[in-house]
């Protein structure tokens, strides 16, 4: 087992991650101890997903994925990690649902208009998720696809895809819900929200059911290129210095803490790498063809107009 000191160190890092400050450390330690002794069952189901939110979840570093699985939650079934395959796997899913009292994590959109477009164990995922949600303690929609429909529900939406809360609302399922949008969801957002729910109950949510901890401020407000915006020092082409607003950056209306938190263990993030924020954590992400990610085409058009 890990030492007490290591344990408190984890707690402190987790408290920091959750933005709770050091006074919360004892409560966090208690939460983690509770998790390891009575690890609450978690059922992770994938709808129309790319598994990117699972891959991102595996990038968690404090605590790491092994610690997450052994100490903090009892992952009953996850189709990317479970040894159980086929009927055995489905039996775990069914019996977990039957027992109730678990937390349901859903990754991926729900093809409500074409239920054949996502099935597991011969059952449409739209039915399986509804059945599980009705008996879950809470439903956590991880990633923009599960939260709002994401790319599967973008314009032309061939499968009638939508987010999990919307799907459940149509079926009058009133289980507590939380959205963790992002394409993918940052591991800290997923891990931080799960731990908070399990120990402290539902974190404070905004009117879109997102934890305020992670989604209360605009990318733009905490962007390190904010001064460039103020000085109207705009990048004109990719790879330029300066604010990326005129290349299409939508950090000005996207709520998430990427510019503060950074990605992959604080290595980098979209805007620092020269990539305009494409608003992957917002409900409108990719939804309309008339609202492209980059404004390159527009500026090129203007250039041609000026020439003619």
């Amino acid at each position: 087992m890990i030492s007490r000191r290591e344990f408190l160190d984890y707690s402190a890092r987790l408290a920091l991650m959750l933005g709770l400050g050091t006074s919360a450390v004892p409560r966090i330690s208690e939460a983690l101890e509770l998790l390891s002794s009575e690890a609450p069952p978690v059922l992770w189901l994938q709808g129309q997903s790319c598994s990117g939110c699972s891959v991102s979840f595996m990038n968690t570093d404090a605590p790491g994925p092994a610690a997450m699985l052994l100490r903090y939650l009892s992952l009953k079934f996850h189709s990317t990690l479970s040894t159980a395959t086929g009927d055995v796997g489905m039996d775990i899913v069914h019996s977990t649902i039957e027992r109730g009292g678990f937390y349901l994590v859903v990754e991926g959109a729900m093809p409500v208009g074409m239920p054949e477009a996502c099935k597991m164990g011969h059952e449409p995922m739209t039915d399986l998720v509804a059945r599980a949600a009705a008996r879950a303690k809470a439903v956590v929609s991880v990633g923009t696809c599960a939260a709002y429909g994401g790319i599967p529900s973008a314009q032309n939406n061939p499968t009638g895809a939508m987010g999990v809360p919307e799907h459940l609302k149509r079926l009058n399922i009133s289980t507590t819900m939380v959205r963790i949008p992002g394409c993918p969801a940052h591991p800290d957002w997923t891990v931080g929200t799960l731990v908070h729910i399990i120990k402290f109950g539902m974190p404070e949510l905004d009117n879109e059911l997102r934890p305020k901890l992670f989604y209360s401020k605009l990318i733009h407000e905490r962007c390190h290129r904010f001064a460039d915006y103020e000085r109207e020092n705009f990048a004109k082409q990719f790879s330029d210095d300066g604010c990326l607003f005129k290349l299409g950056c939508v950090g000005t209306n996207t709520y998430a803490d990427c510019t503060l938190r950074f990605w992959n263990s604080r290595t980098n993030s979209c805007i620092p790498s020269g990539g305009p924020c494409i608003g992957c954590a917002s409900e409108q992400f990719a939804s309309k063809a008339s609202f492209p990610f980059y404004r390159k085409t527009e500026s090129a058009n203007k250039k041609e107009d000026n020439r003619s």
Binding site: S74, G86, R99, P184, C270, N301
Partner: protein, 504 residues
């Protein structure tokens, strides 16, 4: 009488795959692969701004987003006649290479290893390693807890023959835990040049948006050296040890025996050459790859679009209730032939091509060390071996490419999007040959088609009724207990299927 066994879902792969096998006299007689999830990326891309494509197509797959991003920017480079500076090409290779390593480590340790390694051996562990002792205590507490299915997600599993050596089991379990850190480290290395992973921010036609400086070069090199050490000291030896414990798997899961590679990791110089060469192997004969020979068949796929279309004219109209169809995956064929793609295809094409002595040497070393013949590589174990050999080659190569970056020099050249144009982006994802076909009219995407590695490998029958590579590889596989079809799942997982990719 054949008995039908349906394995649904196949866990520890990416996505929603169901496999139906007919078992007769304790061996698979017939097999059917069903991709069970469809989103319609090609339909969604229609009418959009072409620059959206490299972002949207990355979301086809969270395991290999970079490959889709690269295929998309290559198609756009061609369509816009964009020239990519050397730094841009190198950075793309470094991002892609890091993602290969992440994918391969995850595949062997977290997806496949527990098909061979006995996780329960941990209860007999007597050493002092804290991580292993924690796992041991956890397993003990779980088993005595009276929960429904204690020990998930590591238990239960199919009953069958697992590794008997407790040393090998313990070593591999230790590496299973450590591999979490190294795969995540590979994602960090990639993110140095692409903002974040999964779903890279910096990939654009004309290069990458990331600026190259010496700190980033040093950071990448430092991470990659540590990852390489793990590959050399853990991954390759573990694959060899598992192979030595299951030599019969060098003769199982052969499949169609034809191989296709598009080539990957463009050289930073002006040439179109790639580190892993392109080519096809049919009946062991190497011929140059020609993209015009690709057709996608849909008789057994859940689409109403015409069958036999070439990708540049491809359509993807869903028909979820189509009679006789059993998969969302199309059936791509090359010159009418069933082809396997993936690390094994890349390795065998490189070996037959023989021009890259670094690759040839690495394969020959493996064959010498394991006492296997080249033809035994066409097997379950050969696929695992090819992946591990390739992983080391990619790490070595990344360490060379990173030294070739020139700090301060641009990694991007600007471009203009023509009114009407076309482009093809051919590359290789960790799972095999990947192509994006792009058509632009009025500066908007008028057609976008992706032919993806697992589309080849997990394809259903084609219009001639010929089964796909995994379906063929399953035939003849001995299954000692049809309630625990462990052998069949080992064959399927050796291909590292990704259904989100295959259907998209």
């Amino acid at each position: 009488m054949a008995k039908t066994v349906i394995i649904d879902p196949i866990s520890r792969i990416e996505g929603h795959l169901a496999v139906r096998v007919e078992i007769e006299s304790k061996a698979v007689k017939n097999a059917y692969c069903s991709g069970e999830m469809f989103r319609g990326f090609e339909v969604i891309l229609k009418g959009r701004d072409p620059l959206d494509a490299q972002q949207i197509t990355q979301r086809i797959c969270g395991v290999c987003p970079v490959s889709h991003g690269i295929a998309s920017v290559l198609a756009q480079d061609m369509a816009y006649r964009a020239s990519v500076p050397s730094n841009g090409k190198l950075a793309r290779n470094l991002i892609l290479g890091a993602n290969y390593i992440q994918s391969h480590l995850t595949h062997f340790y977290h997806l496949s290893a527990l098909d061979f390694i006995d996780i329960q051996a941990i209860t007999g562990y007597l050493g002092k390693d804290p991580a292993l002792n924690e796992l041991k205590d956890w397993v003990k507490v779980q088993i005595s807890s009276g929960q429904v299915y204690p020990g998930a997600p590591f238990l239960p599993r199919y009953l069958g023959g697992y590794v008997k050596s407790s040393d090998l089991n313990i070593t591999a379990i230790k590496h299973y835990l450590e591999a979490f850190d190294f795969r995540s480290m590979a994602q960090r290395a990639g993110a140095i040049f692409c903002g974040k992973l999964p779903h890279a921010a910096s990939l654009v036609p004309g290069g990458v948006t990331e600026k190259i400086d010496s700190q980033k070069i040093l950071a990448y090199r430092t991470l990659m050296q540590q990852i390489r050490t793990f590959i050399v000291q853990a991954y390759l030896p573990d694959v060899m040890a598992v192979a030595a414990s299951f030599p019969e798997y060098f003769r199982m899961g052969k499949g169609c025996g034809n191989f296709l590679a598009f080539g990957v990791f463009r050289e930073p110089s002006g040439s179109q050459n790639t580190f892993f060469p392109s080519g096809t192997l049919v009946d062991g004969r190497l011929t140059p790859f020609n993209p015009d020979f690709i057709r996608e068949y849909t008789q057994y796929s859940l689409f109403s679009s015409p069958t036999g279309l070439e990708p540049s004219k491809g359509e993807s109209q869903p028909d979820p209730k189509k009679q006789g169809a059993y998969s969302w995956i199309k059936a791509p064929r090359y010159n009418g032939q069933v082809m396997e793609v993936g690390p094994l295809a890349r390795i065998l094409v490189s070996l037959a091509d023989g021009k890259n002595q670094t690759i040839v040497r690495e394969i020959n070393n493996f064959l010498k060390d394991t006492g296997q013949k080249p033809e035994n590589m066409v097997s379950v174990m050969g696929r695992h071996a090819a992946r591990a050999i390739e992983c080391k080659l990619v790490a070595d190569q990344c360490l060379e490419w990173v030294e070739q970056l020139i700090p301060g020099r641009s990694a991007f050249t600007d471009f203009e999007i023509p009114e009407s144009t076309e482009g093809i982006g051919l590359t290789e994802a960790p799972r095999g040959a990947l192509g994006h076909w792009l058509q632009i009219r009025d500066k908007k995407i008028s057609r976008y088609q992706c032919v993806v590695p697992t589309t080849w490998n997990c394809s259903p029958r084609d219009d001639q009724g010929v089964p796909g590579p995994v379906e063929q590889a399953l035939v003849g596989t001995p299954v000692s207990d049809d309630r625990n079809p462990l052998e069949a799942t080992r064959v399927v997982r050796s291909f590292d299927p990704c259904i989100a990719c295959a259907v998209h």
